[in-house]
Amino acid sequence: ASSTSSSSSALQPGSTGVLTGSTVVFAAASLKPTFTELAKQFEAAHPGVKVVLSFGGSDTLAAQIKQGAPVDVFAAANNTTMQTVVSSDDAKSPVNFAKNVLEIAVAPGNPNGIKTLADVAKPGLKLALCAKTVPCGSAAQKAFAAAGIDAKPVTYEQDVTSVLTKVELGEADAGLVYRTDVKAAAGKVVGVDFAEADKAVNTYPIAQVGTGKNPNAGKAFEAFVLSPSGQAVLHAAGFEPDA
Amino acid sequence: MSVTDVEPALLEARLAVSRAGWDLDVDLRIAPGGVTALLGPNGAGKSTTIQALAGLLRISDGRVVLEGDVLDDTRAGVHRPAEERRVGLVFQDYLLFPHMSARDNVAFGLRAHGMPRARAREAADRWLARMDLAAHAARRPKEMSGGQAQRVALARALATEPRLLLLDEPLAALDAGTRMSVRTDLRTHLDEFSGATVVVTHDPLDALVLADHVVVIEGGRVVQAGTPTEIARQPRTRYVASLMGLNLLRGVARQSGVVLEDGTTLTAVDDYDGPVFVVLRPSAIGVYGGQPHGSPRNSWPARITSVEQQGHAVRLAAKGPPDVFVDVTPQAVAELGLTVGSSVWLTVKATDLVVYEC
């Protein structure tokens, strides 16, 4: 939140004038719906530019960047991953552009009557969590720690989508996922907010990457993500601005 | 057919198999305990017949009855699989199981019938001993010579006591000594269990020695069947005659003699009328440098097309008409200076012609 000013010079749309070519954006898989929409809007605003999006796990993308993948912008799902790219000098000055809040995903109609975080720890209830090494997992751990609950999940999934799938297909009775995921699931699961969610907020940083071939367009795209119209797209998907 | 009708047949079969450009249609009737030789040129359908009897090849038409059991009946839609027939088969190329020792190959059939492994192996060892293979019991087929492999295949088939034993050239790879003892053993064994054997062989001697009934197949059809003596004396096709080392000519008997198919006439002593076969022993034909003036009633000019040493005699192929093989002594060859291309006169006495109805 503190370093947004550094790129403010590029904030005025149209000021760069002659943006052309294609720019490569690496984004965490969980950003797929929003960034697809953002790219569409950005391309509409800059007819000469094509945004090439590549989605994947944040760490996979980071590994590729470290191997020299030609990338202009990298949007990660957590700061730790971003930091590995920064420390290898492949990216500079990351900026947090969104944050995501955990919710309890349950089957439609909430058959197990889950109201609080404590309810998911009830014995006999099948709870799915992300693995502790992935962002949604560490966030969940923080939330449980804050609530003083000893949760006994049946599985530690490798990403949030897998947790969602388990709940959707009824294998798990509840799972801790992001609000954006619940929204994207469009009624196949419902979200239950819980108080401790504030303690486990996950922030999404974005940064310029040095390996790209079109830094100007990249800069403009980053600026667009941070602009009000960009933030509106993110908000519609359930993200909250990183105030 | 020489098996008389009073004797109950062990096997009665009519087999028809059709293939692109070739078909088989044979009748077989085999008496219990008998040995039938199946003779015929390459590609005549001998192996096909044998495989159809074993149930490894589905006949397209016909009926096979063994000891009263209907094994095949295309009308009734009956086809008993090979494993239920108790028909033993020795393949032309042995087909020993390559992953088993000779002993286990022979024990296989017994074990398949439920005999415990140890007993089956003992029985196998006895069979191998009879085949003079005791020392090779532990060998894999790959480590055996051709003849050894063939004897193992024979032992393997015999060990299961088939009701009918089918042997596709079982003696071809055996050396003279083994051949005789295996042959004798085979007879002894067959005499014992009252089954019957069908042997495919190319060796007319084998056929004559081993079999009490010979069936000759050519082009998928039975062309002659009978006792070895009948076959040997009165061959009905050129193939059979050549097998027996005889010349066979076909013609029409008239008062004047026999008018052959090639138009020439031979004088014979027998009194026939109508189509006949004429058999000429190669050794009964005389060879002269010029036209002879002796007692033989038949003589004709010919050209020598091949000269081949055979044991102590020399066999000449002579182009007439009629074309015949002639056996002469090496001395005669030297005296007459016979080589390929020589022109000669051939003679045969009327009493040396054997004539019988077609």
Partner: protein, 270 residues
């Protein structure tokens, strides 16, 4: 007489090997039921629009192309490897054989990392490729082919070696006695005789390459049109539209059924 000592053997009444049929039926049911599950859950209504999408057809074409090229590479490199393993007395042959099978065991993502370490811009071979030819494999379609070949070739090698070992070596001897060099023999005798094995291996290899995900995304990335193959698209679709992911999977399946049914009966039946 040997035979008089033993009771006559009982006549057999043989039945088809029911055990085999029952086990086979069970096995097929086990494999096919999940596919039925997929079919039952697929949103057939939305399928047509999805299948008409340009990015889907692009990804499908890319998948088929890369899988086919990878299979071709695997054939060119893998069949000789199998031949050497089966027919020569190389030192440390069994170690070599195990090494060739390793990409099977390596979790695909780890495989991708290994590929980056070797063929990436900073990898041993990759650095040299870049300096010498200016070629960089990662994040290109060529990179997809490399990743798929790496992961899928071992299947081919193992299948072909098995076939070679089952072949009678004496055919080689017969060819040699007719004056054929080992190379001529390889092309005209050995290869045609192990054709069923090679075909089986190629099918395995192609199918594995077609379904390849982990190594590809790690080594080649996921750019639409260049490196985003169907499995990557399925993975991404899972993020926001699981139903679409099912349809895409089924599409992949349908295409490969068509190819397998079409090819194999022509290749295999002799």
């Amino acid at each position: 007489m040997t035979l008089l000592e033993q009771k006559p053997l009982p006549a057999k009444t043989s039945r088809p090997p029911y055990v085999l049929f029952v086990l086979a039926a069970l096995g097929i049911a086990f494999l096919v039921l999940p596919l039925v599950g997929l079919l039952a859950r697929a949103p057939w209504r939305s399928a047509p629009s999805l299948l008409g999408r340009a990015d889907v057809t692009t990804a499908l074409r890319l998948s088929l192309e890369t899988a086919t090229i990878s299979t071709a590479f695997a054939l060119v490199l893998g069949v000789p490897i199998a031949w050497c393993l089966a027919r020569t007395r190389l030192p440390a042959r069994s170690l070599l054989r195990a090494l060739c099978a390793l990409p099977l065991v390596l979790p695909p993502v780890a495989g991708g990392i290994a590929l980056l370490l070797a063929y990436g811009r900073r990898g041993v071979v990759g650095e040299w490729l870049l300096r010498a030819f200016g070629v960089s494999l990662p994040f290109t379609t060529a990179g997809v082919v490399v990743a798929e070949t790496f992961v899928a070739m071992p299947f081919l090698i193992v299948a072909v070696e098995g076939a070679l070992r089952a072949l009678d070596v004496r055919y080689d001897a017969a060819a040699a006695s007719l004056g054929a060099s080992r190379w001529f023999t390889f092309r005209h005798v050995t290869l045609p005789l192990v054709a069923p094995g090679v075909a089986a291996g190629a099918v395995l290899c192609w199918a594995r390459a077609l379904g390849e995900f982990g190594a590809t995304i790690t080594f080649a990335g996921s750019y639409p049109g260049t490196t985003q193959t169907m499995p990557l698209q399925v993975y991404l679709a899972l993020q926001d539209d699981p139903q679409a992911a099912i349809v895409l999977s089924l599409l992949l399946l349908a295409v490969s059924i068509a190819v397998l049914v079409g090819l194999r009966d022509r290749w295999w039946s002799r």
